[in-house]
Symmetry: C2
Subunit: 118 residues, 2 copies
DNA sequence: AATCTATATTCAGGATATTGAATATAAGGG
DNA sequence: CCCTTATATTCAATATCCTGAATATAGATT
Protein backbone atom coordinates (compact mmCIF):
# COMPACT_ATOMS: atom_id res chain seq x y z
CA UNK A 1 0.00 0.00 0.00
CA UNK A 2 3.08 2.17 0.16
CA UNK A 3 3.22 3.68 -3.31
CA UNK A 4 5.99 5.82 -4.64
CA UNK A 5 5.50 9.50 -5.30
CA UNK A 6 5.77 8.67 -8.98
CA UNK A 7 2.89 6.21 -8.84
CA UNK A 8 0.74 8.65 -6.92
CA UNK A 9 1.59 11.48 -9.30
CA UNK A 10 0.24 9.36 -12.16
CA UNK A 11 -3.09 9.00 -10.38
CA UNK A 12 -3.28 12.71 -9.64
CA UNK A 13 -2.40 13.48 -13.22
CA UNK A 14 -5.29 11.40 -14.47
CA UNK A 15 -7.57 13.34 -12.12
CA UNK A 16 -6.16 16.70 -13.17
CA UNK A 17 -8.64 17.48 -15.92
CA UNK A 18 -12.17 18.89 -15.55
CA UNK A 19 -13.76 16.59 -18.11
CA UNK A 20 -12.16 13.52 -16.58
CA UNK A 21 -13.25 14.64 -13.14
CA UNK A 22 -16.79 15.02 -14.41
CA UNK A 23 -16.72 11.54 -15.91
CA UNK A 24 -15.35 10.04 -12.73
CA UNK A 25 -17.97 11.85 -10.71
CA UNK A 26 -20.64 10.21 -12.84
CA UNK A 27 -19.00 6.83 -12.35
CA UNK A 28 -19.18 7.24 -8.59
CA UNK A 29 -22.89 6.52 -8.89
CA UNK A 30 -22.11 3.16 -10.40
CA UNK A 31 -21.42 1.62 -13.75
CA UNK A 32 -22.64 3.62 -16.75
CA UNK A 33 -22.18 3.35 -20.48
CA UNK A 34 -20.37 5.71 -22.82
CA UNK A 35 -23.53 7.01 -24.42
CA UNK A 36 -24.74 8.20 -21.02
CA UNK A 37 -21.49 9.96 -20.31
CA UNK A 38 -21.72 11.55 -23.71
CA UNK A 39 -25.26 12.73 -22.99
CA UNK A 40 -24.38 14.03 -19.52
CA UNK A 41 -21.36 16.00 -20.70
CA UNK A 42 -22.64 17.18 -24.06
CA UNK A 43 -19.28 16.65 -25.73
CA UNK A 44 -18.38 14.86 -28.91
CA UNK A 45 -18.20 11.09 -28.68
CA UNK A 46 -14.60 10.87 -29.86
CA UNK A 47 -13.55 13.38 -27.25
CA UNK A 48 -15.21 11.42 -24.45
CA UNK A 49 -13.57 8.27 -25.71
CA UNK A 50 -10.18 9.94 -25.63
CA UNK A 51 -10.60 10.96 -22.01
CA UNK A 52 -11.84 7.47 -21.15
CA UNK A 53 -8.68 6.07 -22.68
CA UNK A 54 -6.60 8.21 -20.34
CA UNK A 55 -8.57 6.93 -17.36
CA UNK A 56 -8.21 3.36 -18.58
CA UNK A 57 -4.46 3.67 -19.05
CA UNK A 58 -4.15 5.16 -15.58
CA UNK A 59 -5.91 2.09 -14.20
CA UNK A 60 -8.75 4.09 -12.71
CA UNK A 61 -11.57 2.48 -14.66
CA UNK A 62 -12.39 -0.79 -16.35
CA UNK A 63 -14.94 -1.71 -18.96
CA UNK A 64 -17.59 -4.31 -19.61
CA UNK A 65 -19.11 -4.84 -23.02
CA UNK A 66 -22.77 -5.52 -23.48
CA UNK A 67 -23.73 -5.71 -27.13
CA UNK A 68 -22.82 -2.46 -28.78
CA UNK A 69 -22.48 -0.61 -25.54
CA UNK A 70 -19.47 -0.36 -23.27
CA UNK A 71 -19.97 0.18 -19.58
CA UNK A 72 -17.36 1.89 -17.47
CA UNK A 73 -16.84 1.53 -13.76
CA UNK A 74 -14.40 2.79 -11.15
CA UNK A 75 -11.85 0.18 -10.06
CA UNK A 76 -9.37 2.24 -8.06
CA UNK A 77 -10.11 2.49 -4.34
CA UNK A 78 -7.59 5.32 -4.09
CA UNK A 79 -9.28 7.27 -6.85
CA UNK A 80 -12.67 6.72 -5.23
CA UNK A 81 -11.34 8.01 -1.93
CA UNK A 82 -9.78 11.05 -3.55
CA UNK A 83 -12.99 11.79 -5.44
CA UNK A 84 -15.01 11.50 -2.27
CA UNK A 85 -12.68 13.96 -0.58
CA UNK A 86 -12.80 16.38 -3.48
CA UNK A 87 -16.45 16.08 -4.44
CA UNK A 88 -18.11 15.08 -1.21
CA UNK A 89 -19.73 11.86 -0.25
CA UNK A 90 -22.26 10.73 -2.77
CA UNK A 91 -25.62 9.57 -1.45
CA UNK A 92 -26.44 5.97 -2.20
CA UNK A 93 -27.86 5.94 -5.71
CA UNK A 94 -31.49 5.00 -5.43
CA UNK A 95 -33.23 4.21 -8.71
CA UNK A 96 -36.04 6.65 -9.22
CA UNK A 97 -38.43 4.95 -11.56
CA UNK A 98 -36.89 1.54 -12.00
CA UNK A 99 -35.70 -0.90 -9.36
CA UNK A 100 -35.02 -3.86 -11.59
CA UNK A 101 -31.69 -5.14 -10.28
CA UNK A 102 -31.07 -7.05 -13.50
CA UNK A 103 -30.57 -3.75 -15.26
CA UNK A 104 -27.66 -1.83 -13.76
CA UNK A 105 -27.52 0.20 -16.95
CA UNK A 106 -31.09 1.33 -16.60
CA UNK A 107 -30.61 2.11 -12.93
CA UNK A 108 -27.49 4.10 -13.60
CA UNK A 109 -29.16 5.96 -16.41
CA UNK A 110 -32.09 6.87 -14.26
CA UNK A 111 -29.71 8.37 -11.74
CA UNK A 112 -27.48 10.07 -14.24
CA UNK A 113 -30.22 11.80 -16.10
CA UNK A 114 -32.05 12.65 -12.92
CA UNK A 115 -34.63 10.00 -13.48
CA UNK A 116 -35.77 10.76 -16.97
CA UNK A 117 -37.29 7.75 -18.60
CA UNK A 118 -37.89 4.07 -17.86
CA UNK B 1 -17.85 23.73 -0.66
CA UNK B 2 -19.19 23.21 -4.14
CA UNK B 3 -16.20 23.84 -6.37
CA UNK B 4 -16.30 23.47 -10.08
CA UNK B 5 -14.54 20.64 -11.84
CA UNK B 6 -12.17 23.28 -13.20
CA UNK B 7 -11.20 24.46 -9.74
CA UNK B 8 -10.64 20.93 -8.53
CA UNK B 9 -8.62 20.06 -11.61
CA UNK B 10 -6.24 22.89 -10.74
CA UNK B 11 -5.63 21.40 -7.31
CA UNK B 12 -5.09 17.93 -8.72
CA UNK B 13 -2.71 19.31 -11.32
CA UNK B 14 -0.58 20.90 -8.63
CA UNK B 15 -0.44 17.51 -6.92
CA UNK B 16 0.36 15.67 -10.14
CA UNK B 17 4.13 15.74 -9.82
CA UNK B 18 6.38 13.45 -7.78
CA UNK B 19 8.66 16.21 -6.52
CA UNK B 20 5.74 18.40 -5.49
CA UNK B 21 4.12 15.44 -3.78
CA UNK B 22 7.33 14.81 -1.87
CA UNK B 23 7.49 18.44 -0.80
CA UNK B 24 3.86 18.44 0.29
CA UNK B 25 4.41 15.23 2.21
CA UNK B 26 7.22 16.92 4.11
CA UNK B 27 4.97 19.88 4.84
CA UNK B 28 2.37 17.59 6.35
CA UNK B 29 4.64 17.32 9.35
CA UNK B 30 4.45 21.05 9.87
CA UNK B 31 6.13 24.18 8.70
CA UNK B 32 9.65 23.72 7.32
CA UNK B 33 12.10 25.94 5.52
CA UNK B 34 13.38 25.69 1.97
CA UNK B 35 16.84 24.54 2.99
CA UNK B 36 15.33 21.53 4.71
CA UNK B 37 13.29 20.63 1.68
CA UNK B 38 16.40 20.97 -0.41
CA UNK B 39 18.31 18.67 1.94
CA UNK B 40 15.52 16.10 2.08
CA UNK B 41 15.07 15.91 -1.66
CA UNK B 42 18.67 16.29 -2.77
CA UNK B 43 17.75 18.47 -5.71
CA UNK B 44 19.13 21.80 -6.83
CA UNK B 45 17.86 24.80 -4.91
CA UNK B 46 16.52 26.58 -7.98
CA UNK B 47 14.56 23.50 -8.95
CA UNK B 48 12.97 23.22 -5.52
CA UNK B 49 12.09 26.88 -5.66
CA UNK B 50 10.42 26.42 -9.02
CA UNK B 51 8.21 23.66 -7.68
CA UNK B 52 7.41 25.72 -4.61
CA UNK B 53 6.28 28.51 -6.91
CA UNK B 54 3.82 26.12 -8.56
CA UNK B 55 2.44 25.14 -5.17
CA UNK B 56 2.21 28.79 -4.14
CA UNK B 57 0.36 29.79 -7.29
CA UNK B 58 -2.04 26.89 -6.80
CA UNK B 59 -2.81 28.25 -3.34
CA UNK B 60 -1.68 25.08 -1.59
CA UNK B 61 1.08 26.63 0.51
CA UNK B 62 2.01 29.93 2.06
CA UNK B 63 5.26 31.30 3.34
CA UNK B 64 6.69 33.02 6.36
CA UNK B 65 10.03 34.78 6.33
CA UNK B 66 12.44 34.56 9.21
CA UNK B 67 15.72 36.26 8.48
CA UNK B 68 17.27 34.65 5.47
CA UNK B 69 15.07 31.62 5.62
CA UNK B 70 11.61 31.12 4.20
CA UNK B 71 9.27 28.68 5.89
CA UNK B 72 6.53 26.96 3.94
CA UNK B 73 3.33 25.52 5.31
CA UNK B 74 0.23 23.83 3.96
CA UNK B 75 -2.82 26.11 3.86
CA UNK B 76 -5.29 24.09 1.80
CA UNK B 77 -7.57 21.82 3.82
CA UNK B 78 -8.56 20.05 0.60
CA UNK B 79 -4.95 19.38 -0.30
CA UNK B 80 -4.26 18.11 3.20
CA UNK B 81 -7.19 15.75 2.97
CA UNK B 82 -6.13 14.49 -0.44
CA UNK B 83 -2.57 13.97 0.77
CA UNK B 84 -3.79 12.07 3.81
CA UNK B 85 -5.83 9.82 1.52
CA UNK B 86 -2.94 9.26 -0.85
CA UNK B 87 -0.08 9.00 1.63
CA UNK B 88 -1.77 7.75 4.75
CA UNK B 89 -2.36 9.46 8.01
CA UNK B 90 0.80 10.95 9.40
CA UNK B 91 1.58 10.19 13.03
CA UNK B 92 1.72 13.21 15.26
CA UNK B 93 5.15 14.72 14.69
CA UNK B 94 7.18 14.13 17.81
CA UNK B 95 10.58 15.82 17.84
CA UNK B 96 13.31 13.22 18.15
CA UNK B 97 16.30 15.03 19.59
CA UNK B 98 14.98 18.49 20.18
CA UNK B 99 11.86 19.68 21.91
CA UNK B 100 12.64 23.36 21.85
CA UNK B 101 9.35 24.90 20.78
CA UNK B 102 11.12 28.06 19.64
CA UNK B 103 12.63 26.03 16.82
CA UNK B 104 9.97 24.67 14.53
CA UNK B 105 12.75 24.14 12.01
CA UNK B 106 14.55 21.66 14.22
CA UNK B 107 11.34 19.86 15.00
CA UNK B 108 10.43 19.61 11.39
CA UNK B 109 13.87 18.42 10.44
CA UNK B 110 13.75 15.63 12.97
CA UNK B 111 10.53 14.45 11.43
CA UNK B 112 11.78 14.88 7.92
CA UNK B 113 14.74 12.61 8.42
CA UNK B 114 12.70 10.14 10.42
CA UNK B 115 9.82 9.85 8.03
CA UNK B 116 11.45 8.74 4.83
CA UNK B 117 9.22 7.39 2.17
CA UNK B 118 9.97 5.99 -1.30
C1' DA C 1 -23.04 -8.92 -47.38
C1' DA C 2 -24.39 -4.25 -46.61
C1' DT C 3 -25.33 -1.14 -43.26
C1' DC C 4 -26.26 1.16 -39.06
C1' DT C 5 -24.85 2.19 -34.29
C1' DA C 6 -21.74 2.62 -30.47
C1' DT C 7 -17.24 3.19 -29.39
C1' DA C 8 -12.20 3.48 -30.28
C1' DT C 9 -8.00 5.01 -32.52
C1' DT C 10 -4.82 7.85 -35.17
C1' DC C 11 -2.93 12.12 -36.53
C1' DA C 12 -1.60 16.83 -36.20
C1' DG C 13 -1.44 21.46 -34.36
C1' DG C 14 -1.08 24.39 -30.74
C1' DA C 15 -0.84 25.02 -25.82
C1' DT C 16 1.25 24.01 -21.55
C1' DA C 17 4.59 21.67 -18.38
C1' DT C 18 9.22 20.31 -17.23
C1' DT C 19 13.78 21.31 -16.05
C1' DG C 20 18.68 22.90 -16.56
C1' DA C 21 21.43 27.04 -16.64
C1' DA C 22 22.17 31.44 -15.53
C1' DT C 23 21.00 35.35 -13.03
C1' DA C 24 18.56 38.20 -9.61
C1' DT C 25 17.03 39.58 -5.03
C1' DA C 26 17.01 40.07 -0.17
C1' DA C 27 18.85 39.90 4.31
C1' DG C 28 22.48 39.37 7.72
C1' DG C 29 27.46 39.87 9.09
C1' DG C 30 31.87 41.97 8.90
C1' DC D 1 29.63 49.02 1.58
C1' DC D 2 31.16 44.28 0.27
C1' DC D 3 30.44 39.62 0.88
C1' DT D 4 28.07 35.56 1.97
C1' DT D 5 23.96 32.88 2.40
C1' DA D 6 19.16 31.66 1.37
C1' DT D 7 15.81 31.91 -1.86
C1' DA D 8 13.53 33.48 -6.18
C1' DT D 9 13.12 34.53 -11.03
C1' DT D 10 14.03 34.44 -15.99
C1' DC D 11 15.16 32.15 -20.17
C1' DA D 12 15.29 28.53 -23.36
C1' DA D 13 14.92 23.85 -25.04
C1' DT D 14 12.50 19.82 -24.81
C1' DA D 15 8.68 16.97 -23.66
C1' DT D 16 4.02 16.20 -22.76
C1' DC D 17 -0.87 17.35 -22.89
C1' DC D 18 -5.08 18.92 -25.14
C1' DT D 19 -8.36 18.61 -28.57
C1' DG D 20 -10.44 18.77 -33.25
C1' DA D 21 -10.84 16.12 -37.44
C1' DA D 22 -10.87 12.14 -39.73
C1' DT D 23 -10.98 7.34 -39.71
C1' DA D 24 -11.33 2.59 -37.87
C1' DT D 25 -13.51 -1.29 -35.51
C1' DA D 26 -16.87 -4.33 -33.54
C1' DG D 27 -21.35 -5.87 -32.95
C1' DA D 28 -26.30 -5.73 -34.29
C1' DT D 29 -29.89 -5.65 -37.90
C1' DT D 30 -31.85 -6.30 -42.25
Amino acid sequence: MSRTYDDLALVFRALAHPVRLHILDLLRGGEICVCQIEAALGKRQAYISQQLMVLREAGLVETRKEGLQVFYRLVSPLAETLLASALGERPVPVPLFCSDSRLPAAVAEANVSGGKRL
